[in-house]
Symmetry: C2
Subunit: 136 residues, 2 copies
């Protein structure tokens, strides 16, 4: 078995990685597709999805699934980190939590799980938005 699926290098994949490298924040697949179009790169939406999926599997990019919408992808900056997202204005702050990492590993190991990954998002209301809400 073990279908040695030969992976090929295509300009489309390179293009996707390029946009991801250039834009800092999180972007939806459709966003990235539009950005590629703007750059003059002709990449199909389907391909964008496929590539993003592949990159995510390979651990090269971050995926965030905010409640109520599309998946957001981002170039994985060095190291693993999590996000603190304002549920009102969407502002995102990166936070690192080595403690969480090791905690997750430990917990998983205790139950015999291997090949661990985890997703953690923190939602809250940022200072600005909290202030605004008072004036409603």
């Amino acid at each position: 078995m073990t279908e040695e699926t030969v992976v090929r290098n295509t300009k489309q994949r390179a293009a996707v990685r390029d946009v991801l490298a250039d834009c800092e924040g999180f972007h939806s697949a459709q966003d990235l597709h539009a950005l590629l179009r703007d750059r003059g790169e002709r990449v199909g939406l389907t391909t964008v999805y496929r590539t993003l999926q592949g990159l995510a599997d390979a651990g090269e990019i971050d995926v965030m699934r905010p409640p109520g919408g599309e998946h957001l992808y981002r170039r994985c900056s060095r190291g693993h980190h999590h996000h603190l997202v304002c549920r009102s204005c969407g502002r995102t702050v990166e936070v690192e939590g080595p403690a969480v990492e090791s905690w997750a590993e430990k917990m998983a190991g205790r139950h015999g799980f291997v090949d661990i990954s985890h997703t953690l998002e923190i939602f809250g209301t940022c200072t600005d938005c909290a202030a605004k809400q008072k004036t409603d």
Copy 2:
């Protein structure tokens, strides 16, 4: 503003809470809708979604959003906890992490965020599935 929306007690809402009280694990909205139908309760799918949403907002139930599918809802057992999910067989183990809770609070506070909530899911391969994969 502050539209004093008067919340009413309806048998449909009661029915949804009842199924949630009776079934232990996670279920999708459509699942619960089917369960209600089996019980002879006549509740529309739309209403199930709405009720679930409301309960989730009120913090009465847990919501899990597994990668690649529908939302899963569950009666919120006492206390906050997280889930260790086998990405192969779907087996779910509950884990508690007070450390994570306080870490999240601290991090959020440090950035001026208030009204914090967070989602954390750990994915891995359980012992059984790991063993099976070796025989592929």
